[in-house]
Symmetry: C2
Subunit: 224 residues, 2 copies
DNA sequence: TGTACATCAGTGAACGCGCGTTCACTGATGTAC
DNA sequence: TGTACATCAGTGAACGCGCGTTCACTGATGTAC
């Protein structure tokens, strides 16, 4: 392991290479194209080779999903850290980062928020409620970041005091919903406002939607 | 055609039977289980029979999707018509109906809002922007209903005047986002509020989330 | 009403496909002496 | 440093599977006379 040089140990770092191949396939060919054989092909290796690194396809997919969540969380935390000013500013930046990530990495986004790609739930009555799956925990990271920031908004007296959960849930739902509608195409073409003419897929229109919705949301959450 | 009696013409009404079988499969076995052969099996017919009614699998799926959208739109319009009082009441009822539908028919909901199940977009530069696909049009019905009701809220001086689009978009995104998170399981188990203990899958918790979010949304949209 | 014929819905065998997974193997790498 | 051996990453053939789709067929239904 300590002897990895160029080319390294046999292939070198096949495990990492397989994960990278998986990410590339997911982003280029979509989730449908994510097969074990294709991953191996992309990594330049025989189709049986991945079995030395992943027990089966589900394990590979789970690892990929966690990778996506990690980079997603990093993006959100980056936006949070890079934004000066009020907590409301920060919340807006997080929402914008959320939407940007979804639009730039649509299939990664799908991979994260779709359960049916992953293994059938291992019914384990022992640890059942005690521990979420790694993916389950990762799925809440975005929410937790938003919750923190909502609490900060309360502390700055911008949001009404009390249980922050409804506020944070609403914020998450709104941003996630817009992301979903955009990523899955329901809002991407044609007219969203009947009689308003063709909207097309123009990025300005999408930017306008994001801007409108996040502003409406932020104003709505403010203390009255 | 006019001579259909019991048992009818050969099978009778295989086309309808196939669609119903498809809906049942989609609701029982999920979208993965929706194969042409399984549909035929469920309808009690050989696997080649569907080809007399649908050109290929994609056409069957499109027809199914439209059926789901129809019943969805009917549900929403029903909620709208059945709810007395202010337009705000009605908007709340629509949101609740939206969420109830998604939770009761999760796979129908997925079928409607997921593009990758349908045919690769036929690139038709002629009618390109002119006409949306039937499914594309159906996908906006929910939004249109919400838009109407938002406009009614403005007319009753409950919502701020001006372009209703941002308000309606926000409402749609919020409701759709919560529906998506619930249906895809991100919110269904474990704790949404870290440190708040286990939430479990209890329906009361889900009802509470729906209630919290729709209330927060409605209050947020109100004129200040 | 009865007969001959055309139509058309459903059958069952067959096709090729890519998939996930298994298995005996081979050959490169690391290690003990 | 050199040799013998154990380990382990990657190979390639093979498996069974269910899928979408095609095709020649058959047998029931409807229609013309």
């Amino acid at each position: 392991m300590s002897h990895i040089r160029e080319g390294g140990y046999h292939h070198g770092d096949l495990k990492r290479a397989l994960l990278e191949a998986g990410l590339q396939i997911v982003s280029e060919r979509g989730i449908q194209g994510l097969t074990l054989r294709e991953v191996a092909r992309q990594a330049g290796v025989s189709h049986a080779a991945p079995y030395h690194h992943f027990a089966d396809k589900a394990v590979l997919i789970e690892a990929l999903t966690i990778k996506c969540f990690d980079s997603f969380a990093e993006t959100l935390r980056g936006a949070l850290a890079a934004t000066p000013g009020s907590a409301l500013n920060k919340l807006g930046a997080i929402g914008a980062a959320y939407l940007r990530f979804a639009l730039e990495h649509p299939t990664a986004f799908r991979l994260m928020y779709r359960p049916e790609l992953r293994k059938p739930i291992p019914i384990d009555p022992e640890a059942a409620d005690e521990e979420r799956t790694p993916v389950g925990r990762a799925g809440l990271t975005a929410y937790e970041i938003m919750l923190e920031t909502v609490v900060a908004c309360q502390q700055e007296d911008l949001f009404p005091p009390g249980d922050p959960t409804p506020l944070a849930l609403t914020a998450w739902a709104t941003v996630h919903g817009l992301a979903t509608l955009l990523v899955d195409g329901s809002l991407k073409s044609g007219s969203a406002h009947p009689g308003a003419g063709q909207m097309g897929v123009e990025p300005e229109k999408i930017a306008w939607m994001i801007e409108s919705v996040t502003r409406t949301l932020a104003v709505g959450l403010l203390k009255r």
